[in-house]
């Protein structure tokens, strides 16, 4: 990997409210290789979601640039599919139609109707949601909604998959289950993934690298931790793994010693 796949180059972002403007992110630099799973972790309010939204193109950068395969990102698009924290499924469409809407949009020219149907079902099966294809989002559980959200993002065949605290609203058991699913999908498809999280265990378990942001305002990349644990990773085997424990300790130390928690940001 000589040329970086995704390059975040001295990105700054400030929000103006009236005459005062607050600088949320300052000079964030990060390069991500193809197929890499990168987690971004930091305290609440430090600008994690802002950074992800800029990569998605939903927010413009104030200065600096984001390059995906040497092209500047300046608008949202299906090559950077987002799994939103609160699933964001359209409640008036069935599970199938939610995914199909994305499939139809992205592959309207390249695939015919039958192929698009098969591809929709394939992605639903990938997240084990084929059985609920005719249900509406209000009729399925939170974990299932998030699975459908993941299927909707995967079906676009994105260059980068952006996960915005995808498991944040779920209970611990459902979360563990979904993390395993995401690991399996990542192993099978080799996607490039950026995940926002504030769960240290989740970051260590899933990631190749953990990017730790300092506290805002003017947050920047404080430290990057390589997680070299071999894949496939098994949750139970890792509990006593010394490498895992060291990685976990490193992140925790960064979060609670180097950057003090700011009450007002909570």
């Amino acid at each position: 990997m000589q040329r970086p796949y995704l390059k975040i180059d001295h990105v700054c972002r400030s929000f103006a409210r009236g005459s005062t403007s607050t600088e949320v992110l300052k000079d964030v630099c990060l390069t991500i290789n193809k197929g890499e799973y990168v987690s971004i972790i930091g305290h609440s309010g430090c600008g994690k979601s802002t950074l992800l939204n800029m990569v998605a193109g939903l927010l413009p950068v104030s200065s600096g640039a984001i390059l995906l395969e040497d092209r500047e990102v300046n608008a949202p698009g299906p090559d950077r599919a987002v799994v939103f924290q609160n699933h964001s499924l359209l409640p008036w469409l069935t599970v199938y139609d939610n995914v199909r809407l994305a499939v139809d949009k992205v592959f309207s020219r390249t695939r015919n109707k039958a192929q698009r149907h098969d591809w929709t079902m394939h992605n639903l099966e990938l997240v084990q949601m084929g059985h609920a294809k005719d249900r509406r989002p209000s009729e399925i559980s939170g974990g299932m909604k998030q699975r459908v959200g993941i299927a909707r993002a995967l079906c676009m065949e994105p260059k980068v998959l952006l996960l915005d605290e995808p498991f944040g609203a779920l209970d611990a058991l459902t979360r563990a289950h979904l993390q395993d699913s995401v690991m399996a999908i990542h192993a099978a498809l080799g996607n490039t993934v950026i995940m926002i999280t504030h769960d240290v265990d989740e970051a260590v378990l899933l990631s190749d690298r953990i990017v730790m942001l300092t506290n805002g305002p003017a947050a920047h990349v404080g430290e990057i931790l390589d997680v070299t644990l071999p894949r496939p990773r098994k949750r139970l085997d890792l509990v006593a793994n010394s490498q895992y424990i060291r990685a976990r300790e490193g992140v925790l130390k960064f979060l609670y010693e180097r950057t003090h928690f700011v009450d007002s940001a909570a």
Partner: protein, 297 residues
């Protein structure tokens, strides 16, 4: 055996009372217990309105059934206008037709005027909801215009159309469009940011965004506007027809007044009330059908 019956059996065992004594009446009561909830539901929904209606009719009868009363009592209405009640669809020539036909003529006008108002209102509402500029420009104008009473539009529209039927339709249109515009605009402004983000990531074009996101997401608001709109339209048509003439139910009332047929007016009022009630229920039911699933996310 029903669950309630089983519970009845189990309960006495826990109590110090001997079981066999209690079991027999409990079993006998089970059939009654099954029917009672239905009877009860029927009773609480039907008996109060029936009693109230009878009481009101009685008061009406007592008030109007004396010499010198200015309004007809219910019995007088029934005796003099029962053909209007019993035969809504008779047809004895150009102006002598049943109230059913008249209501249908009025309904046709309302449906044309209201249909146009629904289409234009939703489109303009989307524009105002979506574009801040359009909102700032148009909202003050609409806020002023919507307070103009329906009938105040009639002379202007008579002058413009030079015919009574399109004028009546225009009055319906202009009366019912405001709540549709305003509610649609509120619905569009309340589309969650999440749905807009989804549309942005999928790169939906303007038409797809309109059809797949805006309309379904704002549907509950739109139908609230439509429901208020149809109510106003029905209010306005009767008044407009009283002035423009023709076959409609409004003109019938005016005509009956001029020929001193008060019982006919009373019957016509009931027709208008029932039709308005049914129109409201129809739009409400359509709204429930169209927005199922949207309300709960």
């Amino acid at each position: 055996m029903s669950v309630t019956a089983i519970k009845k059996e189990l309960a006495p065992q826990a109590a110090p009372v001997p079981a066999p004594i209690v079991r027999m009446p409990a079993q006998r009561a089970s059939i009654m217990e099954r029917v009672t909830p239905y009877l009860h539901g029927f009773a609480i929904n039907v008996i109060p309105p029936v009693i109230t209606l009878l009481a009101l009719l009685l008061i009406w009868q007592l008030l109007c059934d004396r010499p010198g009363a200015t309004l007809p009592a219910p019995t007088v209405v029934w005796n003099e206008a029962k053909d209007l009640i019993l035969e809504p669809f008779f047809n004895l020539g150009s102006q002598d037709v049943g109230l059913g036909w008249r209501v249908l003529v009025s309904l046709e006008r309302v449906l044309i005027g209201f249909g146009l108002a629904a289409i234009v209102g939703v489109l303009v509402g989307c524009l105002i909801g979506q574009s801040v500029w359009a909102m700032r420009g148009l909202d003050p104008i609409f806020q002023v215009l919507r307070t103009v009473p329906p009938l105040a539009w009639l002379p202007i529209s008579l002058a413009a159309f030079r015919d009574s039927s399109p004028s009546a339709i225009f009055v319906i249109f202009i009366t019912s469009i405001w709540p549709i515009i305003i509610n649609t605009a509120v619905g569009i402004r309340n589309i969650p940011m999440d749905y807009r983000n989804v549309a942005a990531v999928l790169r939906l074009n303007a038409f797809e965004f309109f059809a797949r996101i805006m309309i379904p997401s704002a549907a509950p608001y739109i139908f609230t506007g439509l429901r208020i709109g149809i109510g106003l339209a029905w209010l306005a048509i009767v008044a407009a027809e009283m002035l423009t003439g023709g076959i409609g139910i409004g003109f019938f009332i005016w005509d009956a007044w001029n020929s001193s047929r008060l019982p006919d007016i009373v019957v016509a009022l009931f027709y208008i009330g029932f039709v308005g009630f049914i129109l409201d229920k129809i739009v409400g039911a359509l709204g429930n059908l169209a927005t199922r699933g949207t309300a709960a996310s």
